[in-house]
Structures are given as structure tokens and as C-alpha cells.
């Protein structure tokens, strides 16, 4: 796969993830939110007055667990971006958490609250 194909695959996964979230009672607030230099958040959704910042990771390959792609550096970037988002949208009185959504061969697995 070249660079472009990666991007297409990534976008497909995020679409899949969005559908999965909507089916599970989440309301999508934002997608691909860019917080300037700090980084990008794939999906921002809300459920039961808790904001979920969701990082989608996927792989088409059976030999690799996509969760390993969430590195401590990536996590730090997500945390910074999420705080920027909350401040920008003035949502500081809501609880929030950071989740990972793993898509492997079309199967979706959601891991909530990964920072704890």
C-alpha cells in the first residue's frame, strides 16, 4: 500500500467506527479535529453527558495488533488536543475520557478510559 491507499483505508475505518458509535448511542460532535500543532483527534462523541475523545486504530493485517500504534507520545498529543477542544468549545464542566477504538479485519473493539 502506498501513502494514498493508507489514507483511504484509514478513512474507511473511521467511517466504520462512526457508524458503530452511533449504533451504540453516541452522538458524534466532531471528526478529525485539528488542534493546531498539538495533534488530531479522530472522533469526538458524547454519551450520558460524558465526552469521549476517540482514537481509531485499524489494521488489515492479521499479524499485528493495532493497539500498539497508540504510543505514549500519541496519547500525550491526544490529551493536549482534547484539553484545547474543551476550552475552545467552553465545555469544561463536563466529564471526559479518552477511548481507543480498535478495528481489526472488520471487527470493532472499544476500550474506554485508556488513561487510567
Amino acid at each position: 500500500m502506498d501513502r494514498n491507499q493508507f489514507k483511504i483505508f484509514g478513512n474507511q475505518s473511521e467511517d466504520l467506527a462512526t457508524k458503530f458509535l452511533e449504533n451504540n448511542g453516541f452522538r458524534i460532535m466532531d471528526r478529525n479535529f485539528y488542534a493546531k500543532k498539538m495533534g488530531e483527534i479522530d472522533i469526538i462523541a458524547i454519551k450520558d453527558e460524558i465526552i469521549h475523545f476517540i482514537e481509531v486504530k485499524s489494521s488489515s493485517n492479521n499479524n499485528y495488533e493495532p493497539i500498539y500504534n497508540i504510543t505514549p507520545l500519541k496519547l500525550r498529543k491526544i490529551i493536549k488536543s482534547s484539553q484545547y477542544y474543551l476550552k475552545q468549545k467552553k465545555l469544561t464542566n463536563l466529564a471526559f475520557c479518552i477511548d481507543a477504538l480498535i478495528i481489526k479485519n472488520g471487527e470493532i473493539d472499544m476500550i474506554e478510559n485508556i488513561t487510567i
Binding site: 460524558i50 490529551i79 484539553q83 469544561t92 464542566n93 463536563l94 466529564a95 471526559f96 475520557c97 479518552i98 474506554e112 478510559n113 488513561t115 487510567i116
Partner: protein, 504 residues
Amino acid sequence: MIINKFKCASLEGTNAKLIDVEATFTKGLPGFAVVGLASNDIQESKERVKSALLTNEFVFPPLKITVNLSPSDIKKSGTHFDLPIALLIALNKVEIKDNDIFIFGELGLDGKVKSSSMLFPIILSLKEQNLIKKAIVPKDAISYLQHIPEIKFIAVDKLSEAIRAISSNDYQTPTLKYDYNALNLLINDQKFYYNKEYEIDFIDIKGQNIAKRAALISASGMHNFLMEGSPGCGKSMIAKRFKYILPPLNKKEMLSIAKHQFLDGVTPDFLPKRPLRSPHHTATSASIFGGGSLNAKIGEVALAHSGILFFDELPHFAKPILEALREPLQDRKVNISRVNAKIEYEADIMFVGAMNPCPCGNLLSKVRECRCSDLEIKRYQNKLSDPFLDRIDIFVVMQEISVDDVGDISSSNMHTKVIDVFSRQKERGQDRLNGKLLENEIDKFCIFEDDAIKILNSAINKFALTHRSIASIKKTARTIADINSHQLIQKMDLLEALSYRRRK
């Protein structure tokens, strides 16, 4: 916001300190922090709690969790904090009304509630301070915790059971049995338990009738005892057999012995047996008296509480140890003071020592020749200072045995006599046994007949006895009078007591 609070405790020395465990759930980046000078084992509890909650299908709230152990300025340790922390997180939306409940338990990764060796000492100490009425404890700890009376225990096996017990008051209290079937005496409405089993018997010791008589006196009144004699004459044999003929115990003493066994890492059998500790002579003073720089721990002296501390080869112990032993023998407690920790503990011990008369051991022998020079003998005997020897009530010199010596007194007979003398002391209203009487109690209980007084006074003049020696003679004479069934101390009792003084 609901802030729930549970009670727990941490051990400091041998005493428990009440600790409140409270948790807040605030908005912010989700996280989990335990504050309040928690030691590593409590910090690790975060992982156990997390895993136990997740495997029991509880979600971690997406909030910043702060668990505080207060008062926050004393160091805490122990894995039993797992369960209260897990319950606070699991029930973060429920208001808990019962704020008086204590919760103890270590969690397994699957949510199983486990016991730890700290539980018994902690709960017993809380009971002694009258702080505890109701507690949630691990089910497997009930077998020994049930010996502590008047506490309502709720036994749980799994985290889910504990959650149910707290949130919906749905629990079963286990049936406890406080009383047991050990042999006992009832004196002045108090029960004293004893055990008539003798693993090793005094009947194995041939001859040595004076030493056996002295051992009987010493055991009856818990008098400090020192034996001097040639190698192989039976000193250690006597010391080992002492353990089985000691006076009966009340419930409180038995619980205290069990507490010290737990602190030593041994699971007690709750039988009415007094402990015998015999540290080797190479032991350091920290191992005997307790110590440690960060958190002070108890030593052999504490473990021998209400039992015997036996030093074999007494002069080979380091001089500082022998001198340091003076305080526990006098005040019945030890105070360990370190920069970071100060603990005080009870050490009501009966001291038993055994020594050879000289470095080669043959000084008293009729057959073998002593190889030591006068200077060597002097140096050897000088290891024991006078203030230390002053605290020994009964001193016997043992001769080598001869062929026709037989063992004629059994432990069972001696123990019957000890129990008999014990009842006399208790019936007289003594709180302590003769050997442990306080100054004012000596005047109250050790009453002499007139002609005995005269002998005592002349002995005081003749031997220039110290104040402490006089007290010790009076106490020993009291025990001998009790053995001889004399109401007042008679001349013969006093003379026998005087014969157990160390001659210089």
C-alpha cells in the same frame, strides 16, 4: 458531590492506628491517585483494584479519582486497604450511611477477598482501644478473627459480596464461637486456660533435684532464672521443658500471644501455651529488642511477651545486649526510638539463662580439670554485670550427674503444683504473679512471720543487699511459701529463697 468514607487501620509497632479511607471523583483527565503517605504495597493496590473491578463488570468512572488515607501524616502499609478503596470506587454514586464500619481485605485480580497476617494484630489492637464494633473481613480470616470477642463480623469471599453487604445491607454474619474447650480454672469470675500436654518431660532429666525444685519455684511465680553448670549437665534440657509447665493464661494474654505470633509470621493455634523464644548468642541487638530505620519492627523480647526468653550460653551474648535487657526486665516494656519511627511495646517476660562456670566449662567438675587461668575465668564472669544479675531472682549451680541419679518428677506433677500455686496467687487478688509484683504490691502480699523478719534483716546487714535484691528475695519467698501452702511467709521459706541468691 458525595464523599464516602470507610474506616480502616494501619499497624504502627504493635498498635493499630485508625485510618479513614475517603475518595473524591472530580472532573478532569481520568486518573487514579492514592495519597496520604501510602507505602508501595498500597500504591500497588491500584492495579489490583482496577483489575478486580473490571473483572466484576464495574466501569471505572471517567473522572479523576483521588483516594486519601487520613490522617495523612502517618505512614501506612498493608494490602488490606484494597477492599475499602475498591468499594469506594464501585459505590461512587451511592451515599453510604453506615460510616462506622471497618473494612479490611486484600483483593485478588479476579475480585477474591483475601486475608493478610496483619489483620489479627490490627483488629485486636482496635478492640483494645475500643474503636471497633463492626467490620467487613475476608471469609478465610474468620477462623482466627472469631477469637476476638464482641465484634460484629461480616465475612465476604468476593468483591461482589462486599458491595452487596454495603449497598443493600444484604449479608450473612458467620456463626462465631468465642469459647473453647481447653482445660480451665475459674478464679474470681475469671477463666484461666491451660494445656496438659507435654511434648518433652522433666522425667527425662536424671538427678538435678535442686535445679528441678528451683525450676518449679521459678515457673510458679514467673521468676527470672539462671542456671550455671558444667557442659551436658542438663541446663538446656530444663529450659526446654519449662515451656510446658508454665502458669495458666487468661483470654487476654492468649490473644496477645496470638497477636505476636502473627507479627512473627506464624499462624497461631490458639492453645493456652506461653511462648519460649531462644535466640542464638550471635543475635544482634536489633533482632532482640526490635529496630529498623524506616519502620521499626519488634524483636525477640516482644515475641516472648508473657512467656520465656531463654539465653543459652549467656556470657557469649554481646555485652550491649545483656545490659539493654535490664530495662525490659525492670519496666516490662521496650521503647524503640528511631528518627523515623518510635514504638513502645509490652515485654512482660520471664528470663531464663544458662551458662558454664568458665570458658572451658569444667570449673565445677569433680573429675575433669579446668584449663582456664584465673584471669580468663574472671573475664568470663565479668561479662555479667551486677545490675543485670540483681534482676535474677533464682540462681542455681548444677553439678554433674552421677550414675545412680534417676528422673522421678514428671512435668505433669510439676504443672499440677504450678497451677495450684497459680490459683493461690490469683485468689489472693494478685493481678500479677509473684515474680512480677510491683514495689507497692510486694508490701501488700509478701507478709512475713516475726522470726522470718529477723532473719531477713540480718541477711540484709550481712550481705549488704540492695533494695532490688531485697524485693527479689521477698518475691521468691512468697512463691516458696505458696508452694509449701503457708499463708504467711515462714522462716524455712525465706531461708530457701536466700539459698537461691548468687554467691560472690
